[in-house]
Structure formats: C-alpha cells, structure tokens
Amino acid sequence: MDRRDFIKQSTLTAAAFGLSGLTNLVARDAHAAAVDVSFAAEGVFKNMVDGASIFTWRFRDLNGFGPGDLSSGLVVMEGDAVDITVYNDLDRPINLEIPGVLEGTPAVAPTGSHTYSFTAPSAGSYFYHDNVNGEIGRAMGLAGPLIVMPADGSNRLYAGGPAFDRQYTLVLHELDDRLNSAVAAGGTYDMSNYEPNYFFVNGLSYPNTAGDGDTLVAMNVGDDVALRFVNTGVITNPMHFHGYHVDVATRNRVPETTVITKDSVLVNIGECVDVMLACNQPGAYPLHTHYVPGVTANGVYVNPYGGALIVMSAS
C-alpha cells in the first residue's frame, strides 16, 4: 500500500471515528481498542531542503508513518490499551517516554527490544521520545506525536472542550548539523553549544511544508480548525500567524484561561499547545516561527527554500 492509499484509508477510518481532520489514525475498529504498534529506532540520512544529507535518528513505525515526513505518529482514543514495541537498531541505549504519561521507563540496549504499555490518558496532545540520551535524543529526531481523542468520539480537543471541523498536528523540531556529525561518528555533543541551522514542521521545511497534505492547513471560511503544536525539539518556537488571531485552548492539556487570543504563540521546549483558529477570511497566509533564523535552511530564507514556515490556505 502506498502512502496516499494509506491516507485515504486513514481518512475513512477517521470518518468512522467521528473525526473529520487530516491527522492519521491508527487503524482501529472499536472503542477502548488494543493498539499494537512497532517502532524501529534507527539512524538514517535525511535530505535537507537545500540538498544537504544529514544523519538523523527516528522512530519508524513498521506499519505506518506520522504526519508529513515523520516516520511515526499515533492517534488513539482515551482508554485504548496501547503497546509500543521498540526495536533498537542504534549504537547506544534508548528508551521511550511520554511526558505526563510514561516516564522513567526501562532502556533498550542496542539490538534489543522492549514493549512499552500504557492506557491512553485524557484527551489531548502528547509526544513520545527517547530520554536516555536527553536532549540529544530529541535533537537527533527520536520523537513523535501522540494525539488522544475523547472517548465520546467527538471532534473536540477534550470532552466538553472546543469543537473543530478540522485538525492538524504540527510537530516542531530542528537540528544542529554539528551535533548530527558528532553523533554519526559515534560520539556525543555538548548541548550548551547547540545552535540549530535546519528547522522543520512535521519533519519538512518550506516549500515542502506547502506540498504536504498533513502540513498545508487547508480551510474553508467558517471552519473551526484545531492546530496542535507539539514541540519535540530543544528550542522555543514563537509561532506567528498571518491573517488570523487564534485562541490558545490548552498548554500541555491544561485549558488556558489567562492569555487567550493571540497572533504570536510561544510553544516552549517540550510543550504541546493546542490552538483554535476560526477561519474568517479567504487567502493564503504563512504561519512561521518569529525566531526568523528558524524560517531559513542554514541561513537561506524561503526563496527558493527555507525552514519552519507552513501555509494556511482558506477558500
């Protein structure tokens, strides 16, 4: 099955799931399902948008993929029994943790495997990552999004929370090629020297962000659109919206009550921020980090390629 067919199937599954957004769902057929997935933790040379080839790490879903260019990502329902079996094909120990859900888990030695089991927690946006290697694990790419939908099957961020017509998961991360080179050589890196030079949304840089169905935010005027920012990287991301203000709905799954209506939303390190966009005008507008070096690919700004900039297109 090729990728597009899987998306179609996933979308159908999503419809049955009562979810009209474009986030891919793990195949499932009942409430409180058993979700079994297998991830290979592996090294891979990733092509940057400017042609550079950089050694990265990833969790690759052996039967699926994540949004955009990410090789894994999960959408489950509250109460699901989730088993994630991790096969470690890297040269050093790793583990899989989910902040707020699954922490302090056992490590997997190289060539080993381990099954991490948990019950899907309260609805909201989460991520999983390797924590044995600390920030280096996330900077190398060993992370992915976990979206938990409400048990009542509603298109809401959480039971009784904001309802949406569409939803997008936007995973923010970045890399410093000097770190990747050091790790590729079997070494490590002093993270106090970390200064990233490539920046991604769902593993993609502009303009590839605009050519990807999971990452191009396609809307109709009148839609309520949920955008789930998941920062798996190790820098802050002040995300600026052109064309629209949004309402910050939750930060790390806690409803925001203080500073709500924004055009520039700080997504902190390791933070999940869900915002609601009420689409009230047509057009094509960028959504990008206002740490503008993050809109570049190693300093090249947008023309012909760049970094963490995506397009919102409303008709």
Partner: protein
Amino acid sequence: MTNGRTFSFLGPNSAFLNVSMNRTQVMADGTPINAWTFGSGFNNDRSVPSPVIEGIEGQVVTVTLDSMMPHSIHLHGLDVDQANDGVPSTSGYVAQMAMGGFGRVEGYTNLGTPFNYSFVAPHAGTYAYHCHVDTVLHFEMGMYGTVIIRPPDGSTNVAWAGGPAFDKEYIWHLHTFDSSWHQGGGSVSGPGTVRHRPDYFMINGRDGANTLTDPTTAIAAAAGERVLIRTNNMGYQPGLVRLGGLEFQVIASDGRPLPATIVRTELLVAPGERYDLLLQMPPATDRTATVEYYDIRLGGVLGTASTSIQGGDAGGTIFNDDFESGDLSAWSGSVGG
C-alpha cells in the same frame, strides 16, 4: 508630551515610508552599526526602530512604501487580507520582478513606484510592522516598528473602548543586534544568517547606559499616575521584562484585552509578541527596570537592557495583589498559572 505620548508618530490612518539602507546607529560603546530603516527612524532622532504608525479602530489605514530596492511592509498582527500582507510570494510589494509562490494573487510595483497597503484598523491595541523580504536579514537590519490602533473615538488616553485609561504612554520596542550580520552593508547571507549571536541589547534602539536615560524609554511620572507600557518584541530573543520589582498589570496581548487583568512583577515577551503593561506609579520611586534577553533555549541571559523608573513624589498607591514571583526555569510559555 500631549496626550501622554512619549514618542512621535505618523498618522492617524496614513503613513508614507521611504527606505534608507545606509543609516548608522551608534551604540553606547561608540561602535557604528549599519542599519536599514523605514522613514526617518524612531522619533526622528535615531535610525532604529522605524516610526510609530497610528490608526483608529474601524477606519481605513493606508501605509505607502516608496523604495528603490525590493522591500515590503508586513502588518504584523493586523490580520489584513492577503493582498496587503506584505509577503512577497503571496502579496503586494515593491519588487524588481514578479515572483511565483503559493497562492499568489496580487501584483507588485516596480522599484521607485510607491505601493499602497490598506486595511481596516482592527481592535485597539499594540501591533507591529516590518519588512517581509528576505526577512531574516531585513528584520535584523532594523526594518521594523510599532503600530498603535486607537479606540473608535480616536482617544489617546484609553487602551480600548471601555478599557483602562492611562496618563502616560511608552513603547518599549525590544530588540538586539548581532553586529556580524550588519557588516558589509547587509551583504551577509547563507550560513551567516542562521546562528544569531547578539552583542547589543536594546530598547527603542538604545543600548547600555543610553537606555537608562532615553526619554522614550525611561519612565518619569507622578505618584498615582497610570503609565501604559506597550512592549513589542521585534528581536530574535525572548525578553524577560521586570519593572525593578514593581508590580504591574498585564491588560492586553497581541491587540486583544486579556479576559481578566493579571498582576505580575515579571513577564516573558517572546519574539513577535506584544504585551500591554499598566503601572500605577508608587510614591518616591527610583527603580531600574530590566529586559533580560534569553537565548532561544531559555538557557541563559545573553544580555540586558536597563532603564529607569523615577518620580512618584506623593500620594500614590500601588497594586496590592499578592503575587509570587515567577521562576523562568518552570516557565510555562504563558503568563497564567
């Protein structure tokens, strides 16, 4: 200052901006830095930031850009339509040639032919504008400024219709320079514009000792006067604002009132964000306010801009809400909690 303003402005509702790419900003240590600016600079007395533009809520605002080089004006936070958004690949600007791009619908003008941006002014509050051509460099070079939208009646002593009144009004435009990016007249590109290592830390274009006494920044008010500080982070680093330990109200962000006013002694303003702070001047005040610029990992302070808060001779009151000072290491990205 009339109507409490401590800065000059263009408008209301119309502004004409030319461009200069050979301005010089002299830093407190005497170093001249090449800067690019719109118009005649902040208060006509310094290159950066660019002039303040004012508009009135509900009325049409026109900003005209006249440039001999490719530049644009992005009206940051004003939620203008695509044609007026100032993004070269989608919107109108002053260009040498048409550029392709996602969903491009609007034209451009040739170099030397003014381009008019227009929009209906949204909710009263604090906004920004900046060049969106090769933004990573043009923004760093100084092509940014503040937009203030006044309430529908045009009053200049009320934050928005039905909102808090104030006696004095300051803009704190937060920004930094990485001087290496300014060398060669802004010819740095590629890997030279990705790792930003600022060495000058400013408010309103002033750094070091000059910030302490700059009348556009240093707060002077009588006890009991209500001072509105419009913070606008147009740099690449988050800035942690403190008013020398004084409590202040946070009344709005990004041009929208907060659902409920909150009281803080410190506030992180991230790149692109604006927060409107209201300080009621206490008696006998002599404080040093600071903006600590953090790296993008919030791992440490890169540098600090400081200014003074002085006055408050008699009879004032201060906010007495209990407030526990925040801890940046546990910063949630929100001023809540």
